[in-house]
């Protein structure tokens, strides 16, 4: 599903590479934690999967396609297959929950009839069916993140990328979010989640890939946040 072949990424005017010779493979349906300190390359990894950046060296494959060979007008099509969730939720403040999720569908040309059907389903999945007409400002952090997840999942992507989704949430709320991501993973969606949250990682015991200074230093199938003993 995601394959990195000897990928190095050096940003212009930087001396140290953001990613340094990373080779790894994520299979379909996996749940992977991407851990590491700030600046270790987690966000760069996610940006490369979305083709928001191009690797300086090496090749990135997503869903069997070599991103290096993907023409730029095909990139939107790639991104429609990938759902993204961020630490700062990235909702539109002047649109309701329903409108926020609908926006993502309208913008890729889905007809209104389909949208009207999808939204209740996906709001139900994230547990926000009764808050469909609220504005983001009226929701708690956890609820806002659920909206973001609903938006990311509405188009049934094959991959869900999460960049520190629990970064702005308290531990109890974070657990709820992780349960949701787990449920989504169980439907067959590959999930890659970059995180600082050691508690979550330790409690879920999934594959852990650790980055340090751009290099992959650990790839453990049922790992914990720090080195386990």
């Amino acid at each position: 599903m995601i394959r990195f072949d000897d990928v190095t990424k050096v940003y212009p005017k930087q001396t140290r590479p953001a990613l340094d010779n990373v080779t790894l493979e994520v299979e379909k349906g996996e749940f992977v934690f991407l851990v590491g300190a700030s600046g270790s390359g987690k966000s760069t990894f996610l940006r490369l999967v979305l083709k928001e950046e191009k690797p300086s060296q090496g090749r990135v494959h997503v869903a069997g396609k070599d991103l290096g060979r993907l023409s730029s007008w095909k990139v939107p099509g790639l991104r429609r297959q990938i759902g993204t969730v961020f630490q700062d939720f990235r909702l539109l403040p002047n649109k309701t929950v329903t409108q926020n999720v609908a926006f993502a569908l309208e913008v890729i040309g889905r007809p209104q009839t389909q949208i009207r059907k999808i939204i209740p389903e996906v709001l139900d999945l994230v547990g926000l069916a009764d808050k469909a007409n609220r504005l983001p400002g009226e929701l708690s952090g956890g609820e806002q993140q659920r909206v973001a997840i609903a938006r990311a999942f509405a188009n049934r992507p094959i991959i869900l990328l999460a960049d520190e989704p629990t970064g702005n949430l308290d531990p109890t709320t974070s657990v709820g979010i992780m349960k949701l991501l787990d449920r989504i993973n169980r439907t067959g969606t590959t999930v890659v989640m970059a995180t600082h949250d050691s508690q979550i990682v330790d409690s879920m015991r999934r594959r852990v890939i650790e980055l340090e200074g751009g290099k992959m230093i650990r790839d453990q199938s049922r790992g914990v946040y720090g080195y386990s003993n």
Partner: protein, 303 residues
């Protein structure tokens, strides 16, 4: 392509950027008005040339009681008139036809020519007008033949070739046309830059939306289209306002003022000419606003 979505985004953008849109419309309107003036002047020259070069005539004005020319101590005598006529006949075939216009007919022609200026007609009595020979030439450039043969002859006040006057008039009109084109081109450049800036400001104010659109995989066209349309709407409105201004000029300046004085020199521009400018104004405004928006967006909203 979901038109409803594109148009709702367009409406949001227009509402948010009213002031910028206003300046875009004003500047585009001005440039299109200048362009329209240039085109109208061009049509005017065309009208005049068409009307007058068909006339191919030279007027030999005979001395009248009111002549100020020292060559005219008295009004032309019948003998002098016959002499001039013989001179003209001798110039055939350069001279194609000779027509004597007596005072009565001169007055009728005068009334007809200045029918839009009743005050002028009222204050001119028939015997104030000189008699003349109206001579049609085979070749209008041979004016000098008639002039050299008859200028200064007894009984001849002046030999007038409207062509010389008209050529001066055309020269002035052409200069006016060039000035109008230069003004128009300069303001069009300003409009192009302004439209580019307006579109950029609009896109910048919607960074959140466009960011999310890119993230969820909206195509570049879909993202850029509402802003592109904003630019074009501004250009089109400017064209409409510019055309309205041009029509107002036509009514206020030409119909009310110029027609009385210059109506004699063939038809002035009519509504048909004003509407002739419309496709140019619409076409050019759509072209410049579309291009300005498109190029700016591609540079600015690039991945």
């Amino acid at each position: 392509m979901r038109f409803r979505f594109v148009f709702s985004e367009l409406a949001i953008g227009l509402r948010k950027n009213v002031l910028m849109m206003f300046s875009v419309v004003v500047i585009t309107a001005f440039s299109m008005m200048a362009l329209g003036v240039a085109l109208l002047v061009q049509r005017q020259v065309g009208h005049m040339k068409h009307y007058w070069y068909n006339q191919l005539q030279v007027s030999v004005y005979l001395c009248s009681a009111h002549s100020t020319n020292p060559n005219c101590p008295t009004a032309a005598t019948p003998a002098q008139i016959t002499d001039v006529q013989n001179q003209l006949q001798a110039l055939q075939p350069t001279v194609k036809s000779i027509d004597f216009v007596d005072q009565a007919r001169a007055y009728e022609l005068f009334k007809e020519t200045f029918k839009d200026a009743p005050d002028l007609v009222k204050n001119t009595s028939p015997d104030a007008l000189p008699e003349s020979f109206v001579v049609k030439l085979q070749d209008p450039k041979k004016f000098n033949v008639v002039s050299s043969a008859l200028s200064g002859k007894p009984g001849v006040d002046s030999v007038q070739d409207e062509h010389a006057f008209l050529n001066k008039l055309f020269a002035i009109l052409n200069q006016l046309r060039v000035v109008a084109i230069v003004i128009s081109a300069t303001v069009i450049i300003a409009a192009v830059v302004l439209i580019g800036v307006a579109v950029q400001v609009s896109a910048a104010s919607r960074k959140r939306e466009t960011g999310i659109m890119r993230l969820v995989g909206a195509s570049n066209l879909y993202i850029q289209l509402p802003f592109l349309l904003e630019g074009i709407v501004g250009g089109l409105l400017g064209a409409v306002v510019g055309f309205a201004a041009l029509s107002a000029i036509k009514v206020a300046l030409i119909d009310h003022s110029l027609r009385a004085v210059f109506g004699a020199f063939g038809s002035l521009v009519e509504w048909g000419d004003v509407f002739y400018t419309l496709p140019f104004i619409l076409g050019i405004s759509i072209l410049i606003s579309g291009l300005a928006s498109f190029v700016t967006l591609r540079m600015y909203l690039r991945d």
